[in-house]
């Protein structure tokens, strides 16, 4: 009985805080993406026309995100039947976009407007209890140039 109450309250807490944070995070992501829309990303190694550009310093952005209890519980249930773990997908999407925005912010500081050779790295830095997703780091890096 005690265990059930504990699980239910953790679920409610995780859901309440988690979805509030997710909503406000997405709102901030959309706003900042619009602000920095003129910074262009390429994963090609070389700019098509290298005569007109300058710079080329490494920029990067990283973020460590963690799941809430609700997401973990839903993913745990989902693993029984298999399929898409939707609750983790939003988390990774947010993490990746946040990392890109941080990298773009570095490029803005350097006065650059294009980033080449963009690469992504995702690693789980701590596994949660029973091998569940704990926290993941998304790293994105590239070379910023000014055209």
């Amino acid at each position: 009985m005690f265990e059930l109450i504990l699980v239910l309250s953790l679920l409610a807490l995780g859901y309440g805080f988690g979805s509030y944070r997710e909503k406000s995070h997405y709102a901030s992501i959309f706003r900042r993406e619009d602000e920095m829309r003129d910074i262009l990303l390429f994963d090609s190694r070389f700019p098509p026309d290298s005569s007109r550009i300058s710079g080329g310093k490494l920029v990067h952005g990283n973020v460590v995100v963690s799941v809430d209890y609700f997401k973990m519980f839903v993913a745990g249930l989902r693993k029984l039947v298999g399929g898409r773990l939707k609750s983790y997908e939003t988390l990774l999407d947010r993490g990746r976009r946040e990392a890109i925005l941080r990298m773009k912010a570095q490029a803005v500081e350097q006065g650059a407007n294009q980033i080449f050779n963009v690469k992504f790295e995702t690693s789980s830095i701590s596994k949660g209890a029973e091998g569940n997703l704990g926290s993941i780091e998304v790293l994105v890096y590239g070379s910023a140039v000014k055209v």
């Binding site: 262009l40 519980f73 839903v74 939707k86």
Partner: protein, 283 residues
């Protein structure tokens, strides 16, 4: 070269579906699956248990110490009552009932593997007559007769194994927890059907031994009274009833059974002469 940076459509790399929708769908689906598994196991375990020799079950627990007070007057009294009642309950031939006595205050008695019954002092203090005690005894013997302890064990072990596999192999903490909790529940409790099956067999035994089922009537009346009492002052009492159907309902069920079988509901009671306890003591 032309450069543009248009916005890709939202909701491609993640689903914008409400998270509670997935949660409820999964929860309902999985609870249904677990329920089906438990019901199937119930039916299977109930059948398979009879193929496990009783001797084997007895050996399994032969080293186990059920109660601290063995070889006492009280134990001898309870064993004697069981030996008188058991022949009236159509037990299989190789089935032996062993009664243990514990001087703890817990208001409880239980049947477990290998034909072992444990009676607590606290329960006996609530009893007014020998018939009433025999009603409890008959109920517990009936659990043994229908192999309920080994059925529950089989179910519990199967579910616990399943939970371990699910929890370990896919790291589905939530799934393992759900199955594990239902494993715990079925390990601890006999089902309500098993309880009423035991009630009926106990009544049949009482009728055969005493010629009436008044003991069961007394028992359910005093249980019903205890259920009404404050659960805080009597935590041990609540412990016992949680796994059982409501006492008043159990008696109504038995009464209608007595009507159809033509059993006598009331007759003279023998005062309980339990060693070491004044028979009129209050619990």
């Amino acid at each position: 070269m032309q450069y543009e940076n248009p916005k890709p459509r939202e909701g491609i790399n993640y689903s914008s579906e409400h998270p509670l929708k997935e949660f409820s769908q999964l929860l309902i689906g999985i609870v249904v699956i677990i329920a089906v598994v438990v019901i199937t196991l119930n039916a299977l375990a109930g059948r398979l248990a009879f193929y496990i020799p009783f001797e084997f079950e007895r050996n399994m627990v032969s080293d186990f110490e059920f109660a601290e007070v063995e070889e006492s007057l009280q134990q001898a009294y309870l064993q004697e009552l069981a030996d008188r009642l058991a022949p009236h309950m159509d037990l299989p031939e190789d089935m032996k009932i062993t009664v243990h006595y514990s001087d703890s205050d817990t208001v409880n008695a239980f049947a477990t593997l290998g034909g072992n019954l444990v009676f607590f002092q606290g329960l006996i203090e609530q009893m007014e007559s020998e018939e009433e005690l025999a009603a409890v005894m008959g109920h517990e013997i009936a659990h043994i007769k229908y192999r309920h302890p080994i059925v529950a064990l089989g179910k519990g072990v199967t579910l616990a194994t399943l939970a371990a596999f699910v929890g370990g192999s896919s790291a589905s903490g939530a799934g393992g927890w759900l199955i594990g909790s239902s494993a715990n529940l079925s390990l601890l409790k006999f089902s309500r059907d098993q309880e009423s099956q035991a009630d009926q067999a106990a009544a049949a035994g009482l009728q055969a031994l005493y010629g009436h089922i008044g003991g069961a009537k007394d028992l359910f009346q005093s249980f019903a009274e205890l259920e009404g009492q404050d659960s805080v002052t009597n935590p041990g009492v609540v412990e016992l009833f949680r796994s059982h159907p409501h006492s008043a309902n159990r008696w109504i069920e038995l009464q209608s059974l007595a009507d159809t079988r033509g059993w006598l509901v009331d007759d003279a009671r023998t005062k309980l002469n339990f060693p070491g306890v004044a028979s009129d003591s209050e619990g």
